[in-house]
């Protein structure tokens, strides 16, 4: 799709003007946002919604173009950013806990988190463990007790691949609850959270693991009972009824953050600009509206803090994955 004429003119004008003010960094012309998946998923949503807010807040001179590059669960886009886009300071790449999970499990061969710039996270979707309404399990400890007696007694369905984030959430909770023989726990992977939920509601699988936003529809209709949300405190608004795992004595956390990384070798000015932009977006009313209408919970980090968080999360997931035999 080509840009309308006035936008083109403005873009050209900014390009021309930009050359004279080279001191502080400002993006010139088109900014790209790389969504490492097909249209319709979480990463695609991150790019498109943040792109809109960037445009509304005039943080970019022209438009933000979302480019979809699916493959290897984000690996193709990660490799592309590392090998072909180094130094490109007009490129944002959408990322989430799925990205750190794959990095931790060595699924992007020859690549690690230090090869890109982690600029910031703008919200999180918290994990839930849920059962069908007529299930015998009334709370999370009861479910975990059953797993302790026999790890095969409860089967879980989720939307991520085996070893992926939805699977890990179950294992994090089970580990905290003191379940032994974690690799024996059955996890069935579906194409998306919705498919996994129909299998649970239909009575074919015992429990659902996913994010709170995925579960909302079936929860409202009363078909699905959320046993626990994996957040530090109870979530605001309509979700405040749901108990956390922590208050049930199982100290398990599962935030699925949404954020961005950028290519390596960009100037400090450029990094500062984008880190500032992330802060501005997070503070803006426009973004607050996006968050509330899409079920995103408060979760914000930028620059050094975010980089440390990512590094720590990768170490944690790596340790867990080794403990349960997912990676050697």
């Amino acid at each position: 799709m080509s840009l309308p004429m006035p936008v083109k003119l403005i873009a050209i004008a900014t390009l021309a003007l930009g050359a004279s003010s080279a001191l502080a960094f400002e993006p010139k012309g088109k900014v790209e946002c790389l969504a490492p998946a097909d249209p319709g998923g979480g990463w695609d949503f991150t790019c498109r919604s943040v792109g809109n807010v960037l445009e509304t807040l005039d943080l970019v001179p022209a438009s933000v173009q979302t480019i979809n590059m699916a493959g290897a669960g984000g690996g193709v886009a990660f490799a592309h950013t590392v090998s072909k886009r180094a130094g490109d300071d007009q490129l944002l790449v959408a990322a989430s806990t799925a990205t750190t999970t794959r990095l931790a499990q060595g699924q992007f061969p020859g690549m690690d988190a230090s090869m890109v710039n982690w600029v910031g996270a703008l919200g999180a979707d918290y994990g839930v463990i849920a059962v069908a309404n007529d299930s015998e399990y009334q709370d999370l400890p009861a479910l975990m007790e059953a797993l302790k007696t026999d790890p095969r007694s409860v089967k879980f369905a989720g939307g991520s691949a085996k070893g992926g984030w939805d699977h890990l959430k179950v294992l994090i909770a089970a580990q905290e609850a003191g379940v032994e023989n974690l690799p024996r726990i059955a996890y069935l992977s579906y194409n998306n959270g919705g498919e996994a939920m129909t299998q649970v509601v239909g009575g074919h699988v015992d429990a659902f693991t996913g994010d709170i936003t995925e579960a909302q529809g079936f929860m409202d209709s009363g078909d699905l009972r959320v046993l626990a949300v994996l957040s530090e405190e109870r979530l605001p608004g309509e979700f405040s009824e749901i108990p956390t795992a922590r208050e049930q004595g199982i100290d398990a956390l599962g935030p699925n953050w949404r954020g961005f990384y950028m290519p390596a070798d960009i100037s400090d000015e450029a990094r500062e600009y984008w880190v500032g932009a992330m802060d501005t977006i997070y503070e803006s009313d426009e973004w607050k509206e996006v968050m509330s209408s899409n079920g995103l919970m408060p979760f914000h980090m930028t620059a050094g803090e975010f980089q440390d968080f990512v590094t720590q999360q990768i170490v944690d997931i790596e340790t867990l994955s080794k403990d349960i035999g997912l990676v050697q």
Partner: protein, 508 residues
């Protein structure tokens, strides 16, 4: 009666002049996108979402426009199947089998008109089904567990033998090849299979690439070969001659195809391809020896077209009632709903009744628009055939390259597509049909996943596979589909040999 009231309100929304205009725009854009090889409905809708946003459309208008794009793309997919033997998208694959032979016989206009009528019938049946039965069907979809899905896919493969060509062994070989290609990628347990450390292969082979390569690129290669050897005969095009009798003739096929497609569409994980496939094979079995299937039988065009359009409306059932996408396109539509602040799930029908019923009404109106648009346009589409292939095929190939690149933005996919083109050329030289390759590729991963899930749930007990009445029913159908042709087949073939003199290379 409550339903009727909602529907009337829905029509009120959909018939508002600006909504009607966007429905028309969507239907036209969709037809165009569907006709271009490599750009299926899912990508079409995805590409047009930013347009809906940048125009600042209201939620109902945006949804109405994009459902029209969806319906239009399902119509458009058949155009290149019939005219060029290159399916515009995967559900349109089955239309090649009889549509292209019809075009070769100079009956391209009839084939296009028949497919438009059949598409309309299929969508109409499915939309009515959606209105009347949506809540019931939502529960029906819930009864399908892994074992039932596995049996359903077995049913599809069991009926495969009857689908193409004269040599069933070649069909089996082709399906196995498809299944083998389907094993590439990270499997359900996280193990890499045949990926050779190439990142682009981790998620397996994208079937859009396989389809465009196998069909479009191989067609180009064949054309080059023909030119080198003295040139290809141009297909003669005659004027549209379609009587009411012809339309009446295809009605039973369209009806059966529409119903079957609808049922396949309702099941998330089955989808439009399975709908058009089962519609075609069943029609072939029902009509049996009386039909010249694979040689340009109008009913062979009508059944899969009704099937795939029925399935595309059927796929809206799980999307609207359960919030579960039944196909790639509905996944994109669902994402649009979420970004419009609508929570997908079982309550969508009640909480967002205005949008849901507006969409359903728009679907009905869109289908009328498409039928009205398509019949007069037949002449223009057919004119395409009089463009010399030396211009037409390179343009189609170029569009395919651009389409594939626009989805993935990697050059790897382009090389891969060319490799599939060469494979398609070799297979066609060996008279191995291409359709079963794609079916193996499409259905293989889902079938494997459901078998694994079933066994995971039962802790390795194979009895789970025929543990429910539904599963047993599906197995029985599969067994009939497998055994019947081997008994009845030789008898039929003997009779057919008496009828058919001319032998044309079909099945690709």
């Amino acid at each position: 009666m409550e339903t009727l009231g909602y529907l009337i309100d829905g029509f009120g929304v959909a018939l508002a002049p600006h909504n009607l205009m966007f429905a028309l725009l969507g239907a036209m854009l969709g037809t165009l996108i569907g006709a271009l090889p490599g750009l299926g409905p899912a990508n079409g809708v995805a590409i047009l979402i930013p347009l809906a946003f940048s125009l600042g459309l209201a939620p109902d208008t945006a949804m109405i426009m994009l459902t029209s794009v969806y319906a239009g793309a399902m119509y458009g997919g058949r155009i290149s199947s019939i005219l060029l033997n290159i399916p515009g998208d995967e559900p349109a694959m089955m239309t090649c089998l009889d549509g292209y032979p019809m075009a070769q016989q100079g009956k391209a206009a009839e084939a296009l008109a028949i497919s438009a009528v059949a598409s309309f019938v299929g969508s109409l049946i499915a939309t009515i089904g959606l209105i009347l039965l949506a809540p019931v069907l939502a529960n029906f979809a819930l009864t399908f567990g892994p074992a039932e899905y596995f049996a359903l896919f077995m049913l599809a493969f069991a009926t495969l033998g009857g689908i193409t060509g004269k040599n069933p062994m070649k069909t089996v070989l082709a399906a196995c090849l498809g299944l083998m290609i389907a094993t590439v990628g990270i499997d359900n347990t996280g193990v890499q299979r045949y990926t050779f450390g190439v990142l682009e292969l981790f998620e397996g082979v994208d079937f859009i690439i396989a389809i465009v390569g196998l069909f479009a690129i191989s067609e180009l290669l064949f054309f080059i070969e023909d030119r080198a050897g003295g040139g290809k005969e141009t297909i003669s095009v005659s004027k549209l001659k379609l009587s009411w009798k012809d339309i009446r003739n295809i009605m039973p096929s369209s009806f059966r195809g529409g119903v079957l497609g609808f049922v396949a569409g309702v099941l998330p994980g089955a989808g439009a391809s399975l709908g058009s496939f089962i519609a075609y094979t069943l029609e072939k079995k029902v009509v049996g020896s009386k039909g010249g299937f694979g040689k340009g039988d109008p009913r062979g065009v009508a059944a899969p077209e009704a099937g795939n359009n029925g399935a595309s409306s059927g796929a809206l059932v799980p999307m609207l009632t359960l919030g579960v996408p039944g196909s790639g396109t509905t996944a994109v539509l669902l994402a649009l709903l979420i970004s419009l602040n609508i929570t997908p799930g079982p309550l969508m029908f009640t909480q967002n009744a205005d949008i849901v019923w507006g969409v359903i009404a728009a679907l009905l109106i869109g289908n009328f628009l498409l039928l009205v648009l398509n019949i007069p346009l037949v002449g223009i589409f057919v004119k395409l055939l009089s463009v010399p292939p030396m211009y037409l095929l390179p343009i189609v190939t170029m569009v395919a390259f651009v389409g594939i690149y626009s989805i993935s933005n990697t050059t790897f996919d382009l090389y891969f597509m060319v490799a599939f083109g060469v494979l398609g050329y070799v297979l066609r030289k060996l008279e191995i049909p291409l359709v079963p390759v794609i079916l193996g590729l499409l259905l293989g991963p889902e079938m494997e996943k459901n078998l694994r899930h079933a066994l995971d749930i039962s802790d390795g007990d194979w009895m789970v596979l025929w543990d429910s009445g539904l599963a047993i029913g599906l197995w029985v159908f599969a067994a009939i589909g497998l055994i019947l042709p081997t008994i009845v087949g030789p008898v039929l073939r003997r009779r057919m040999r008496g009828l058919e003199q001319k032998d044309t290379a079909i099945g690709d």
